[in-house]
Every structure is written in C-alpha cells, then in structure tokens.
Symmetry: C2
C-alpha cells in the first residue's frame, strides 16, 4: 500500500468541537476583531437544539457557594473605570449575558460590568483600582474553558482581553512570536503559517480562544505529542500583578537561567495569581508534508500495540496519535451524519505525521501501514489523499464533543492515566452504570496518556452523578493519575484537587495564592479548594 | 557526496570538558558508587598543570561577603546528625576539602561537616534539625557547577546526594524514569540506552553530575535543541522543604493540570527553595541513526545561513548545531594536540542528526551538504564514518573548556543573545582588550542562541576584569539577552541578575525565597543579589 499524500498543511477548519448549538459560530470564520465581542449564542443554533438553549441556572443556585466579602461595584467605581478605559465599560445587562455564561452552558455568574482594556497600562490601572477597593476580578479570554474558570461566579468585574489583540513582533529566523494576550489562536496560526511556521499548540476552540487564556490554563491539545507543553514553548510573559505592578518577564530567549523562572507561576494558574498581558512563544517550522491515516483496531490491546509500533517506525515524524471507541463513532454518525471511512471496528485510531521530506514520510508511513495491516493490529484503514480528506478524517475525532452534547446531558472527565489501564475505566464505568446511562464513551490523546471519559443521560440526575463521583476520581487516584489532564480546575474541579495533589502541595498552593493575591480578589472561587 | 554513516548512537566518552588538571577523572569511567565520594582532585593531574593546582583562596577572602548570623555546628548537632545518618557524617578536614572547593577551583568554603543521607526521610530529618537550630545548609550533587553554587561559602552543612543513587522505576513503553536525585547522569544514560531510550539531556560533566543537580540548575547542554528544556521533560519531583516537609509532586504523567505546577519552583532554583530528592523524567526513544558532520565556514554570516539551511533541509532530524571560532581550534590544537579535520577556516560548525531511518537521514544530510558546499556557505567538511570518528569530531567542540583552562586564567561568560548579534560581542571584546588578553574566543550552542564567550590571560588581573565587567553584562542587557543562559547564578553571578531581570522580578524572587525559606538557611549567599 503506497499512500497518496496531502503535501500541504491542512487548515482543519472543522476542528472545533463546541456544543451543537454553538457549532455554527465556532466552526465558522475566526472571530472578528470587533470592539463589541460576539456572544457565544448569537451566531445561531445547531443541529439538535432547535428549540433553543434553556436558561442556565445561576452558579450559586446550583452549587453550594457563598459570596466572599468583596465590595460591590459602585457608581464611583464605574466612573473610575470609564476614566481608565473610556467607552469600553459594558454595563448593559443584555450585552453582559454572554460573558456571564460559560460556553458549555453549565455555570452562570451575575457580573454587572465588563471592562475592555487595550494596553498593559490599562490593565494595571484597573487592577490597582480593584485591589484598593477590594473588588473581585474575573479575567476572561475567549471564554472557551471546560471547567467554568472563565466566567464570574457572583458579581466579579469581568476583565476581558478581547481588545488586546495586537501582534507585537515575529522573528522570521527563530520563529519567536510576541503578541498581546487577547490574540485569537487561529489568527496567530494563520499569521505564522504565512511565514512558514506553525503555532506549537492547536485546539478545537482555536477560532475563539485567546493565547493568553491558553497560557493561563496551560492548554494541551492536538500538537502536545510533538511539540510538548507550553511550559517549554512559552519563552516569556508580561503579567500584571494584583496591585497593578507590571512584571516584565517577556524575554525572547530559548535559554535563560537568571534566577527563578517566574513566568511558570502564571502558566496554568487560571488567572488566580495575576493577569497575563503579553506572551512570547516559540513557533516550530511548518512541516513540508503532513499525512493523516484513519485505522480500525479489533481491541484496545491492539490500539496500544499500534501506538508502540507507530513510535518505533514513524519516530520523529509522528505528530498525533488519537483514539476513539465504537460508541463515539456511533454518536458522530447518529447526531452529525458523519460516516465511518473504514469498516466497523471496536476502536479507531487517527495517526498524523508531519515532516520535512514528503517522499521519506510516505515511505515510513507506507511501511508502518503494511506492518500493522499485515500483523492484524489494524483491520482496515484509509489515508488522506488531499487536504479535504484530511479534514474529514480529523472531523471524526474532533466533533465527538459536539455529538455528545447532542446526545443529552454530559458528565465530562479529562483524565491522565497509565496507557495500559486507560480504557479499563471506560469498561468499568459502563458496567457500573448499566442502563442508567445513555452512552459511556472513551476517546482522547492516547499518545499523551490523556483520556476523555464522557457519560450521557437524558437529563442531569443527582443519583447518576453520585454513581460517578467520587468513584471516577478515586479510581484515577488509585492509578496515581490526574483528575484534570488538560482542562484545569476552574470552578467545577477545584474540590477534587485532593485526588491528585497531597495536602502539603495544596498548602503550598494556598501560600502562593496568599503571597500574590493577599485579598483573594483574582478569579475567586476557582482553582483552590473550598476551605473547610 | 554520499556520506558514510555511524549507525549506532555514539557513546561520546570524550565529551567531558573539565579544567586540564581534572581531565583524567572526568573523562574516565563513571564515578563509582563508593560510600566515600572521590575528591575532584585525587584522580591525578592533567596536561598543563604538572606542578599541581595552587591552593584556592577562601571565598570570603577573595569576595566581599559577610557571614550571616546562622548558628555554628555544635557537638550536639554532630551527635544528632550521627543518629539520623549513622556512619555517614564526615568531619575529617582532609576528606572535607574536596567538597569545599568547586571543580573550577575558583571558590572555597570552610564547612566542617558533610552528611550523606540515603533516603528522603533522612533528608527530611536533617533539614528539620537544621531549620530548628538555624544551621545553614549547602545541598551538593556532583559539584560540577560553573558558578560556585555547589560549595559552601562559609561553614554551611554540606548535604550530599551522592548516596541517593537508586533507580526507582523505568517504564519500557512510555520511557518514564523515576530515580533518586543522586544518580549520576552517565549511569542513567547507560541504563536507559540499554532499554532503547536516551536521557533528554547530555552534558560534558555527565560522568560526575547528579540528575538532582541537573534539575536544580535547569541544566541545558547538548540535546536542548532537540528535546527542549527540563521544564518540559521533568514530569515530577519529590522535594524536601526547609522545615522537613516532604512535598510529593512525583507524578509520572505527561499531562497534569491540577493546580499550580509546584515542581517548576524548584527547577533552576539552585537549592535555595528546597532539596530535590527524587526525579521523574521523560526519556525520548533512542534514535536508530546518528550522524555527525564537521564543517568549515568562511564567515559568521555563512554560519548563520548554514543554520537556517540546516533547519529547513534537516528539519526534525537535526539534533545539534554547535559552532566554534578559529581561536578555539588553535587552542585545542596547541594545548591538547587535536588536529582540525578540515581546512583552516574562520569558523567551524558541528551538525548532528538523529533519526529513525538511516537511509532517509543519510539522504537528507547528503542533500544538505551538497547544497552548502555548492553555494559556498561551507568551504570544507567531513562526516563521521564510524563511532570513533563521531567522538573525535565531538571532542573538538567539547574539549574547548579544557584547552582554555590550559591557556591561563579564564574569564567565562555564558550568554543568550539574538543569533544575528551573537558573535559581535566577541569581536567587540577582542578589540576592546587588545593585547591585554591572550585569547578572546567564542563558541557554543548556536541553535539555542547560547554563546560561551571566554577570555584568557596569563593571570587574574583586576584591571582586565574591570574592562570586561560590567561591559559584557551591559552589552548583553542592551540586546535583551541573558547574562546566564544555562549556568545559573550560584555565588558568582548573583549580583548581575539585574542585567536580565527587572526590579519587580527580583522583588518577587525575594518574596518566594522568604515564603519557602524564611530563615534563609538553604544555600545562602547564592542566586539572590546581595541586599544593599
């Protein structure tokens, strides 16, 4: 089998995986740089929610959470904000609605003001004012988070990075990009791809998410396997501390061992320790050849062996290894009308290669496919013969979230587990829930040991939830796994932190929070567990 | 030109680059796991110091530094230590001497006791005792640091990791290694190479340095270009905090976004915030083919173009791009008798590839060499045809430090600079010093923007030093470079931190130090600038 090759880097416009009622928006063209941010809802309804999305319950009504004694925004505060960001203070309740609700429509706050700074200096003045006045602040990027970290819980001031969307510099030899925190990931991708580089990360939400939010949540995504964590690719950050101090760690150097690497404090801290205003990031060269193969496997053992074989035979050109189970394929067929390109199988694998020599890559991939087909690890497979087909294959994997949202209420888990135990929890939960669940599915970034376990049911049910939690977390902890591989803790996972971190670590987290934000005004009710 | 290939991974036994009087030791077999650590001096004298090394001046005599009001070790303390680590308390002055002096023989402390714990629990008990008693502690790994960070300044208790040398686990599919902090890097390399993986870092000092010290100093080295920083490859750490609390962040997961990534605080903090006791690290698969080319370039502009060409044509198989100038070649010839394998040139470049397909790699490298030779970017070149030749080519680059030490007193600078300005400072300093310097040389990890600028003179001279400093640091700061790319700050560079970090960053460093080590007993007089 000699595969045909898509020699250009696929644009993957279909990569988004929003809930179905948001599909049109997130799958569409990149969000415009309008001074008035678009609502997550205004772009129309999708496949399975023709009757419109229901009103989201206010967070404090659904969850047991008490407002902390922060000040309330006064007329004087609004006047002060107007002086700092003239014409960019939003108080209209209708306009605010979209920024109070998360994109999964599971949490809702009641902020009465949103601020849209354009510069670091403006962010600094805003934070200085809020700090002095003891006003809580909710930093917000593209509002595409999965754990309720990007919207207010009560009436926090929303500090949006939407207008901080300027590229500051790009170095055409080193590939180092410096830009403001509010740049949309997809726009950055297009910018650097035109200059023969790629962004080191890629996400389903790239059409909406901001690079500052990506860094603040230490986003993983589809290129992690090849280009690693943002902890290595982010070279520098400018951050505004809670009292307005501007911390300039914005170097553009690959190596810098002058003292503590302070920027690491802010990567993945979800806006609870400071507000990221500028990012310096290392972009890898654009691969000259990209190929995608979609394979059917007879069992999970064969999926794992295919991964090992892949690593050995594709080596440095392997750029993605994703898997999904038969239930996922059933759901993308049923709800989105996508057809499997290969014979029905218990498991499917998507392999992507990205390299500098089309001929060499094709030969390596050809040998790999011959081997896995010949040895029975794979029972059927197909290759992307052009960019459109590559996108179609990727869509099968990337639109699973969307299909799940169309299936009913979704219980979502994002786990890191040892690969050899990774699918056991899906089987286990399926048996445990029996007919109480509609579907229990497993998919994810297998090459990184990252499972997305999702359970659907007709509607939210407290008893189903109690069958799932803390069971899933305890199971994960027993394997020394992570209860949040890439989504973070935000509001919804903060109280399960203890399943992955020992008390001494939680204690040190609290000390760091107290050091950097003594009044606790930065993104309160998030990341740190509720105090007993 | 079709190059012959060394298809095995070269062991590179000649990679060490110690001062010449240490050469025999560091280039020899890996340090034995003897309960009595070997002195850096006892293995004999080298090429150019037949008369023996002179006594090293005590640090407080050479530098303006005042002892802080820590307690002095008492008989009761020694008795307590003996109870914690029975038979592993060293107080013999002769035996202590080797641990009081750094391997470059530029700083010397006067510690009266060295402790050799075997377990985390022992480290915890030692720190708890020292914390209660206000005794200063100097954590020490292989004592191969370049900035005086690994030896005491006064009478700090030396806490050696030498006996914490056990491998705890290795996962043959994922390549995740968990081991104690005192494991010698070269021994770990051999261990994982026997299992078809490699360590993600490689250093000249690998025969002596400890993995815990590598992590504590965020070591860069020769594989950084390909496998990136320890901030990405270190997956987990176990650290003992100053009061004896054991902080278990020892996960073996590629992805974990459960709260702040606390391990990052300790990577690169040089033992000033806690003592690393166990490391979990991701090892890449061993490449099936490794090739080395050594090239002569007519100018630095051509070196830079060769780098760009190399990145474009070799892409994902490029694993090292090192450069050295003609003066470096002259010195390795003069002092070590190494001959240039190519025609005399103003600059030399070493290119290494590491990939999964010998034939493909040879073809890529062949095309690259044809192109650079044909276009005049390179005037002469040679390829490693076997493992021995690969080692010989690497030795030209790696033994520069050794040759410099044989040339006289060495002023050493380890800078990160924008690559296009990287050699300008060498030319500039050469012109500035004129005949006052014996040699001004430039070499380093060009692919990472990391220059080693070294100046030799017959002997130490305060006036030469004042011509160099702060000039070199100010020049670097003007380019927004780093005054310590990979060596860290330790004792010798702590007061130049301000050239690369703004006051707000230094202030936050001090706050972190105060939070994690309120009495300041952990590796005092290091990393943080002297208070005015």
């Amino acid at each position: 089998m000699v595969p045909c090759l898509a020699s250009r880097w696929p644009a993957r416009l279909l990569r988004a995986s929003p809930p179905c009622w948001l599909a049109a928006r997130v799958r569409g063209t990149p969000r415009e740089r309008s001074p008035r941010p678009r609502s997550p809802h205004e772009a129309g309804r999708g496949c399975c929610s023709a009757s419109g999305a229901p009103e989201v319950t206010l967070t404090p009504q659904r969850y047991a959470v008490q407002r902390l004694p922060f000040s309330a925004v006064s007329e004087q505060d609004l006047a002060a904000f107007e002086r700092i960001v003239p014409g960019r203070v939003v108080t209209d309740p209708d306009e605010l609605q979209a920024f109070n609700v998360d994109w999964l429509r599971m949490v809702r706050g009641s902020s009465k003001v949103l601020l849209r700074p354009r510069t670091t200096e403006e962010v600094s003045r805003i934070l200085r004012h809020c700090h002095e006045r003891n006003l809580a602040v909710n930093p917000q990027g593209g509002n595409t988070g999965m754990v309720g970290g990007s919207v207010p819980v009560f009436d926090e001031v929303i500090l949006s990075t939407a207008l901080m969307n300027q590229i500051i510099s790009f170095h055409g030899v080193s590939g180092i990009l410096v830009c403001q925190a509010g740049c949309v990931l997809e726009e950055l991708s297009q910018y650097v791809e035109a200059r023969d580089f790629i962004m080191p990360l890629d996400l389903g939400a790239k059409g909406s998410c901001h690079i500052g939010g990506n860094v603040a949540t230490n986003a993983g995504g589809l290129r992690f396997l090849r280009y690693g964590s943002l902890r290595g690719t982010v070279l520098g950050l400018e951050v505004v501390l809670v009292d307005g101090t501007v911390l300039d760690c914005l170097t553009t150097l690959r190596k810098d061992n002058t003292g503590y690497d302070l920027k690491q404090l802010f990567i993945g801290s979800e806006g609870t320790l400071g507000v990221i205003t500028t990012v310096s990031i290392l972009c890898p060269p654009k691969p000259k050849a990209v190929n995608v193969a979609f394979l059917g496997c007879p069992g999970f053992a064969e999926v794992l062996q295919t991964l090992s074989t892949c690593r050995g035979m594709l080596g440095e050109i392997l750029s993605a290894f994703e898997f999904m189970d038969a239930q996922c394929m059933k759901l993308v067929g049923q709800h989105l009308g996508l057809a499997s390109p290969v014979r029905d199988s218990p498991f499917y694998v998507l392999v992507e290669t990205a390299g500098s020599g089309a001929g060499h890559d094709a030969e390596k991939l050809g040998h790999f496919l011959e081997h896995v087909l010949g040895s029975g690890l794979v029972t059927d497979g197909t290759m992307a013969t052009d960019q459109r087909k590559a996108q179609t294959l990727w869509a099968l994997r990337e639109r699973i979230t969307e299909a799940l949202s169309c299936d009913g209420y979704v219980y979502k888990y994002d786990l890191s587990l040892p690969v050899e135990r990774l699918y056991d929890i899906v089987i286990d939960v399926r048996a445990r829930l029996g007919p109480n669940a509609k579907n229990v599915v497993g998919y994810g970034h297998l090459g990184d040991g990252n499972l997305h376990l999702n359970v659907t049911a007709e509607a939210f049910s407290a008893s189903l939830l109690s069958s799932l939690e803390p069971y899933v977390y305890a199971w994960t902890a027993e394997q020394r796994g992570s209860v949040s591989a890439e989504h973070g803790l935000g509001f919804k996972k903060k109280d399960v932190l203890g399943y992955s971190k020992p008390p001494a670590a939680v204690q040190l987290m609290r000390q760091l929070k107290a050091l950097l934000d003594p009044k606790g005004i930065l993104n309160p009710y998030k990341v740190l567990p509720t105090q007993a």
